[in-house]
Subunit: 313 residues, 2 copies
């Protein structure tokens, strides 16, 4: 049995995970990310101990602990090189955790963990797999030859920061025109608001008023009701998402690309037109096409994938 | 000893290549690409035999023949699935070649071969390597873990067709806004001509008149003479090239990115500002940076890399 921990800005989520990637039990506590990081790590260890005892296990039943953490991780040493939303700067996360719970610990980037989790459960033995998560930003992870691809320096697979519109919208990373400035839920809401300003008669205003806010669903819902301004927002958004996936396909040709994150709850009404666009415009016209599908594990992906880190050789 | 053949639209170039990647002898004949492909393949074999006899070798001295070919290649079978500039459609290149010269034959995409050649000679044992060639289009090849990365379907590493400006210039591939529509020599000449139209007093007109044409050097030469319109063309071009390299870095983090093709003859005056832009804008701010350098083998890369195909297990 393994423990997988997904350290998020809001919650610490942990699970008991079998070597097949099955979650046997889960628990979570608030991160309270403003407090000293040592306290957060102590709570991560306490949560792990709670999972062990509440499930009638002992520490000896646990092979290892995997931790998915936001930011720049040195996966070889378990050090958090830099994390912005939970303040860490060259913080030896693995070592500090082991002071509280002395088990082998593996640490990697949270998006890498999510990709590894989705791959192990839904990859069906594919040789390569790309997870793209459409959320506040655009994140993801890349599996090549059955293993996480980390690049020579450990920090590859930041698909949200490939260029989609050179010289376009300013990204939080400092560059202009990153994919996440167009394909994130944040970007979708921004573009929805811009379209609403230009179209005072659009059904988007009614949809947003009913929901109490402009959200990622606003344009999709109004488009389904036949609103043309909303349909334009949706069409543009689908093209932005798909154009970035075409980039990934033309460069790396993963066997499966899975789309996760809140927006992906739109299901096939989002995935089908993306797939159609990708198949039409990818450079490969003569060889088998990569699969384009929805991710399915949601928040569990990070827990499972963190545990799966421990099984990498 | 190996034979490496670079089958180009204009010339068939072949070389005797040692297992260290050293070219011992070279020869070439015109491709005459309009004629039946069987004839072209016969000439490839004749050229190989000529190399063998003119260098006092026998067929027994040759381990294998590697062929770099444009288009979509099934590298597992040696079939050219599709090639546009030398007409081939499901053409069994490997089998047809062996009818004329019965040696083990490996075939792969010409850009993959060039990347493998540059990597073997100039990669210095790096774990990963990306070659980007700036020519008529933007081509390239990707080495990961010391091997060509071909994707699940054999046709990965088409970096020229990652998206640089979603919805931008129309590409020959059918998509809009591909990197090669902005970073190829063809695009540079187009943008130079556009800038010249808008700036009748620009020194670019004089430079082009002296050279007898508007070329890839026109804007660079005029910019060096202090021409502001030319400098704008060069600055934009550098940003286009660099923005695409940032995409490759953020997605895959190769240890070395090498820039080849005719435009790269500008040397450090082109490479240095690209490197500076990439280092400034890549997402990775905390871990080692990939090297950005000029490729150096020119046309020999394809011959060497084709031979090196034969040494892959």
């Amino acid at each position: 049995m393994y423990i997988g921990i997904d350290l998020g800005g809001t919650n610490i989520a942990a699970g008991l995970v079998t070597d097949k990637g099955e979650i046997m039990a889960k628990a979570s506590v608030p991160t309270n990310s403003g407090r000293p990081t040592e306290e957060i790590v102590r709570d991560m260890a306490e949560l792990s101990k709670q999972l062990i005892t509440e499930n009638d296990l002992s520490i000896d039943d646990i092979e290892a602990v995997g931790i998915g953490c936001p930011g720049t991780i040195d996966y070889k040493t378990g050090e958090v090189v830099y994390c912005n939303n939970i303040k860490m700067d060259h913080f030896p996360l693995s070592d500090v955790f082991r002071k509280h719970l002395d088990l082998p610990v593996r640490v990697d980037n949270d998006a890498n963990c999510a990709a590894l989790g989705e791959y192990k459960i839904n990859g069906g033995g594919a040789s390569s797999y790309l997870l793209i998560t459409l959320g506040t930003g655009v994140g993801g992870g890349l599996i090549l030859n059955g293993r996480l691809h980390r690049g020579f320096n450990g920090v590859a697979a930041e698909p949200g920061h490939i260029t989609l519109v050179s010289g376009g919208e300013r990204c939080t990373c400092g560059k202009e025109g990153c994919w996440e400035c167009y394909a994130s839920a944040t970007a979708l809401v921004r573009d929805t608001k811009r379209a609403m300003e230009k179209a005072p008669d659009s059904l988007m205003h009614k949809v947003a008023a009913n929901a109490g806010k402009v959200g990622g669903k606003t344009a999709f819902d109004a488009a389904e009701m036949g609103d043309s301004a909303a349909k334009q927002v949706v069409d543009n958004y689908i093209r932005y998402v798909a154009d970035g996936i075409v980039s990934c396909a033309n460069f790396v040709q993963p066997e499966i690309t899975a789309i996760g994150g809140g927006v992906s709850k739109q299901g096939e009404s989002l995935i089908a037109p993306i797939r159609e666009y990708v198949y039409r415009y990818e450079y490969n016209k003569h060889m088998p096409k990569m699969k384009v599908e929805a991710a399915s594990l949601g928040n569990d992906a990070g827990i499972i994938g963190a545990a799966m880190l421990c099984m990498e050789e």
